[in-house]
Point group: C2
């Protein structure tokens, strides 16, 4: 096994977030489930956009957000994801390369346009997402650079992208490549709706020993295990994956590594402005510690610190210097 | 004269701002004049974008920012400006309509794309702007709705847009329409470089009594009058326009109305994050008071409050509820 070229290579949705403040009443009126993610088609996206207030456009995408955080902390990263050859695709590509991430997936010509996620942020900081997947769902298996995947310590996969057919095939192929090269596979369950649709796939991947590091929040933990009780959910999964990381919002997070449980409290912040990207950045902090061989408790702390930064402002890409923030907080 | 349909109708650049933090060293290296605005062509914009860190896209444009502020305070407004039929054009149109502004200029087909302004924000909060005018410079005189212009209390014009030929012709026509309808014409000088190129035009407009309300900052005041001393500059202009408003950053602002001088201090804020839009929002606050017939001192205070809000965060569109902010501060 040659020395890894990357710390983490990720396959994910290539999305630009379109974010605006919204009242709870508006979220209700539009029939959205507050805090959740819903897929919408082009017409649905157009209709919701009309109902939205003045917005900001900030690059997003779950795995891409995680990588941006990792790269900001100093990790070597590569991203694979499909944009269209349009202005928003150009924005996405610029923003991910600007933090030093290798991104070589060629833009896709023609329709549909680059994916966008319309995010309504209520006064409590909760985000309600409506995703138009656009070009993102057409990531072909040929887009994968097998050498790059084999040359990364960790292959990181986003559950959201398991839904469309082509990227699912691409991710299955990537898992094989990573495993054959003796690398670790990390997976984030993304959202309960993905588990509703593909839970059997995920459980099979786990049972087959193909997932080394699994990220979930408490809702996803319940959905994948069928256990409503948090600890019962942890117990149901902890022996099936070498590293299990479960976040639970203001109650911090839990990690079980080879049967050993560690916990971290949420990092205190003044005001939750926008929770978009909280889980993504938690994963970034955790993985940064993990690839450096740190103790689980320290990995968790890094996750909590990165998550606290992201929810203190609009958007799922860090505004603070994460490397400096980690150094200030952890020494 | 029928009752005005609008408080303010504005003609301006239809621009999306692309904003990123930058070091002073980077601004130096790229040969930019810190704090200024430079026009760039498509290649120049591409090159600068490559050198830029991860960015946020937020609708901008000087006069459009002013209108967005006015509309947020409760004024009735209409905007005239040229976007292309592309994604950024769609973003601009959405954001301006979402605050309740009428915007009926048809998007322009084909190249060039919608205008964008690459804004490098240094740690002191100062913004350095590089504008690719794109479709914005092709606003044709036919785009003007003469009835709407004649039906607005104030026609507000942005000096930046005096530079390209077609919009300049459109603005000259609009001034005639407004004057014939007995309306007021407000003009912002925008930047010293515009005065370098078109100062004679501006001085002629002023001498001909076509400008009722003139906005400038201290640098522009010096450029238009040739007087380096602030008070000498004020004296040189004050008898030529009925209302003269000059901002001077942290030193507040001065207004001379029919020979009578009023002043306001800058509104104190915790931290200057990004000065983009400070002048635009000052104008918004001032005009809001003006159209309601308030005393100059109160108009100035509104300007100072709106400017303080905009420089406390990224972007030139207000994040706070300006109407509520005004009520809280002014009763």
């Amino acid at each position: 096994m040659t020395a890894p070229r990357y710390d983490v290579i990720a396959i994910g949705n290539a999305i630009v977030d379109v974010m605006a403040p919204a009242s709870d009443e508006l979220v209700d009126e539009l029939g959205m489930t507050k805090g959740g993610m819903t897929l919408v088609d082009a017409d649905g996206a157009k209709e919701l956009y009309s109902a939205m207030g003045p917005a900001k456009e900030i690059s997003g995408g779950s795995a891409a957000n995680t990588l941006a955080g990792l790269s900001a902390m100093g990790a070597q990263c590569a991203f694979v994801g499909q944009v269209a050859d349009d202005q928003l695709g150009n924005v996405f590509a610029h923003d991910i390369r600007a933090v030093g991430i290798d991104f070589d997936t060629a833009p896709r010509e023609g329709e549909p346009p680059t994916a966008r996620c319309l995010i309504f942020v209520t006064p409590d900081g909760q985000r309600t997402m409506n995703t138009f997947l656009g070009a993102s769902q057409f990531l072909p298996p040929e887009a994968l650079d097998q050498e790059a995947i084999g040359g990364a310590r960790i292959l990181y996969l986003e559950g959201y992208l398991w839904d469309p057919e082509e990227p699912r095939a691409a991710m299955r192929a990537a898992i094989e490549t990573a495993k054959a090269a003796g690398r670790k596979v990390a997976f984030t369950l993304s959202d309960a709706f993905v588990i509703d649709r593909h839970g059997d796939d995920f459980r099979a991947l786990i049972a087959d020993g193909l997932i080394d590091i699994l990220f979930a929040n408490k809702v996803e933990l319940a959905a994948i295990t069928g256990e409503d009780d948090f600890d019962a959910g942890i117990d149901a999964l902890k022996d099936q994956v070498p590293v299990l990381v479960v976040t639970r919002s203001e109650d911090g997070a839990v990690c079980v590594t080879d049967g050993e449980r560690s916990e971290v409290a949420a990092e205190p912040i003044d005001k939750v402005v926008d929770t978009t990207g909280a889980g993504d950045l938690f994963a970034a902090g955790f993985l940064f510690g993990y690839v450096r061989g740190e103790e689980p408790a320290r990995c968790l702390r890094r996750g909590a610190i990165a998550a606290a930064e992201i929810i203190s402002h609009y958007g799922a890409r860090s505004e603070a210097d994460l490397a400096k923030l980690m150094a200030d907080k952890l020494g």
